[in-house]
Amino acid sequence: MSWLNDLYETYRENADQVGKVQRTSAGKEIVLLPIAHAYQNAQIEVTIMPEGEFYSASVVPKEDAQTMIPVTIESAGRAGSTSAPHLIHDNLVYVAGDFEHYGGVYKKNKAGKNSYQMYLENLQAWCESDYSQPVVKSVLSYLKKGKLIEDLIQAKVMVEKNHQLIPKWSKELEAEFGEKPALFSVVVGEQATSFVRFAVQEPGTGKRPLWGDSEIIDSFVAYYTNELTNEGLDYVTGKMLPLTENHPSKVRYGGDMAKIISGNDSVNFTYKGRFTDKNQVASISYEVSQKGHNALKWLIGKQAFILDGRVFLTWGKKETNVPNPEESSADFLDFDAIFAKDEEAEVLLNPDTTHQQFSELFKKALNGYSVKLAYHEPIYIMILDAATPGRMGILYYRSIEKEQYFARIEDWHQTCFWRHTYGSKNKQRYTFWGAPSLRDIAEAAYGSRASDTLIKNTIHELFPCVVDGKRIPINLVRNLLQRASNPVSMEKWEWEKTLSIACAVMKKHFNFKKEEKNVALDKNQKDRSYLFGRMLAVADVLEERALYKAGINRSTNAIRYMNAFSNHPLKTWRIIQENLIPYQARLRGKGSYYQKLLDEIGDSFEFEDYTDKALDGKYLLGYYSQRADLKKKTEEKTEE
């Protein structure tokens, strides 16, 4: 399907979420906005009696200011000098009939009507329609009296001097009026720019706010969509529906002005050619545009991975939460749940966990997602970014059937896997077997100090590797090999992390031992890079043990020569071996064990493979597995 239609369908599937405030794990408030509604910060709250008399007014504290208000196409996009009133809740310049009495100036539209008149007309039209609500009529009949500011001054919400609203609070005024009124600490500009929201004091039930009220929302949506007249062919649904030319901005975050659908360049040949007007390019219905964009905003707020402005989003139509291709294998697990059940937590904290055990946990988590989704249900993947502040491009869009998507995700996590020990959650360190997150891969390849732009582009490049089964880009593989071969350039923990990530990628890249799900040492492996890697590990462990015995703490020759070794294994090996002799002597009996091991590895070489040609990524696998094997053995011995 097309991207906008998929979003539109997602909105319809989640219609029961509309208007409900949810919180993300980071505590951010997100909501699936109803159509023809927007968020606005209010500073003043006015309560009215049902028959249209003033009841009370108060200043809205900052943390409570967000208000969901009904808007029209024009008012949602109003800016600067253009004047278009919202409905019900609006700025003083629109709602106050006595605005000019107190030194304000109304905005005027082209027909010469002032903003207050426009506002009243709009509200009147709604109140006279079949969709009217008695509480809204109360607001109308009160505002018609044109004494809002007078009442607000009497209620001590606003302050005047000589029949003029005081623009800014100053120290001198304190002597005259006493303490600084609350309004001045919440309003950004002058008093007169305040935004007013209304509530109605109903007998018996008490105060009823007119924002976020589902009855009023539904009534307005019905009224407004019925009012829209310019019907035309909607390119998304293929139906005749009321159209809009204005499409929402603020898709990624509050102040984001980039639009996905726009068209304000009629001078250059952006869309021209056979078309003479942007409306000829495409027409989109108001309903689809609103619902599609609102669904997108909601999804981005809820579950997108955003880096340097680029949005990576994955969702399902009915069950919006689906596993993200960016995540590492461990991210799939709900650690809070696991750590609650102690036995399983033990599994993760134990360095001897096997891939088998982790794999089962992973599968369980994946199944948990999978059962919530219907058969053949599509999963959508979207990547968005803006090259310029005004327009946003769709950089990637795919819809994949659930079965295929989960098979791809599982395949990625079962082939790009290695043993990783860098994870920690809830301050508990854990070991996991599986694929690192795409961000970790990118950072391992280019260093943690690499620019966000480079990292986001790399993640972008890796996305199709997960969801389309594409091969990992060769430049990334080379970079990882380069960095993992250069342990002296970074701290030990960082190198260990880079090494295990590099191993995961190398295993995937070389399709190394495809069927086997373990990282254990393979003594029958005849690959020269693998064998050279093993030799390096033996030298490393041997020297490390000797140094440890002597109480010296420094990096071994093997580590220091690793970079050179990866390029010229034979030449460098001679140097490493010469340097090993004193350490071997120091270890006495044990030294001969390592020598025997080295001879064994040497024997495994095919004669013609024992050359000075540069090594490929498999040497990292050999190195890692041999080192892990040797360390395990010594641990077993010390336990005895």
Partner: protein
């Protein structure tokens, strides 16, 4: 074969951009997942075309799986050569299609009746496909160069051969109705809901599309029969040259 002059060709390229009109207005172009009827018609017309014939695309077979790749672009501003814009374009990556087409004579051009020689046009079309087309082939937009060769439809292995079920692409542009083919002095756009089965999309004829939106008035370009060199005349002159 349903039509006597039906023919197939394979077209492929490194990239394709069949711009989704929703993203075209603002200039941040993103491709549709499959080619439009109009794009394939344009490709066929680049291979060989005369005003007396109208091509009908019967079906397209998507051989390679649909993949997208985005690029940061610096399109030049048409009216200000000193300035350039910044945009992300999203292309289809390595598309390969097999296209089945046939032609009919343009009934709105009875004046060109003298050129209604089916076998002649069919033979030229066949030769033109073999030669890779008479003009540049491009997939959707000018920067996506395409390459054409003859093919036996449905023989090559396709990535969607074993695909179970249908793939829906929502509402898509089918093509544009130009005055010289409809007989009306108007430009109109046709929409439809394509469905892909095992990689194959069957196109309805333009007249069969129900979602039609008139865009603006437009006059047909005129051609005189005298501007076209009849093949018999060409043959005669060649004969004379040989003599």
């Amino acid at each position: 074969m349903k039509y006597k002059n039906q023919i197939s060709f394979r077209v492929e390229g490194e990239y394709a951009l069949f711009t989704d009109p929703l993203t075209k207005m603002g200039g941040e172009k993103m491709t549709y997942q499959v080619p439009t009827y109009q794009a394939l018609k344009g490709i066929t017309e680049s291979i060989y075309w005369k005003p007396s014939i109208v091509y009908y695309i019967d079906e397209v077979r998507v051989i390679k799986s649909i993949q997208m790749e985005s690029k940061g672009m610096r399109p030049m501003k048409y009216n200000d050569s000193s300035a350039s814009d910044l945009a992300y374009y999203t292309y289809l990556k390595k598309p390969v299609y097999e296209v089945k087409v046939h032609f009919e004579f343009n009934q709105h051009r009875p004046d060109l009746k003298g050129d209604w020689n089916e076998d002649k046009h069919y033979q030229i079309l066949k030769r033109s496909i073999k030669a890779g087309g008479r003009r540049d082939i491009f997939l959707g937009t000018r920067e996506c160069q395409g390459y054409v060769e003859p093919v036996e439809f449905g023989v090559a292995k396709g990535d969607y051969d074993a695909y179970e079920g249908e793939l829906h692409f929502g509402t898509m542009v089918h093509g544009l109705s130009y005055p010289d083919e409809t007989g009306r002095d108007e430009l109109a756009v046709r929409l439809w809901h394509p469905i892909m089965e095992k990689g194959i999309i069957q196109f309805p004829r333009p007249e069969a599309c129900t979602l039609v939106r008139p865009l603006r008035t437009m006059q047909a370009k005129t051609f005189e029969l005298s501007e076209i060199e009849p093949v018999d005349q060409l043959f005669e002159s060649l004969e004379q040259e040989v003599e």
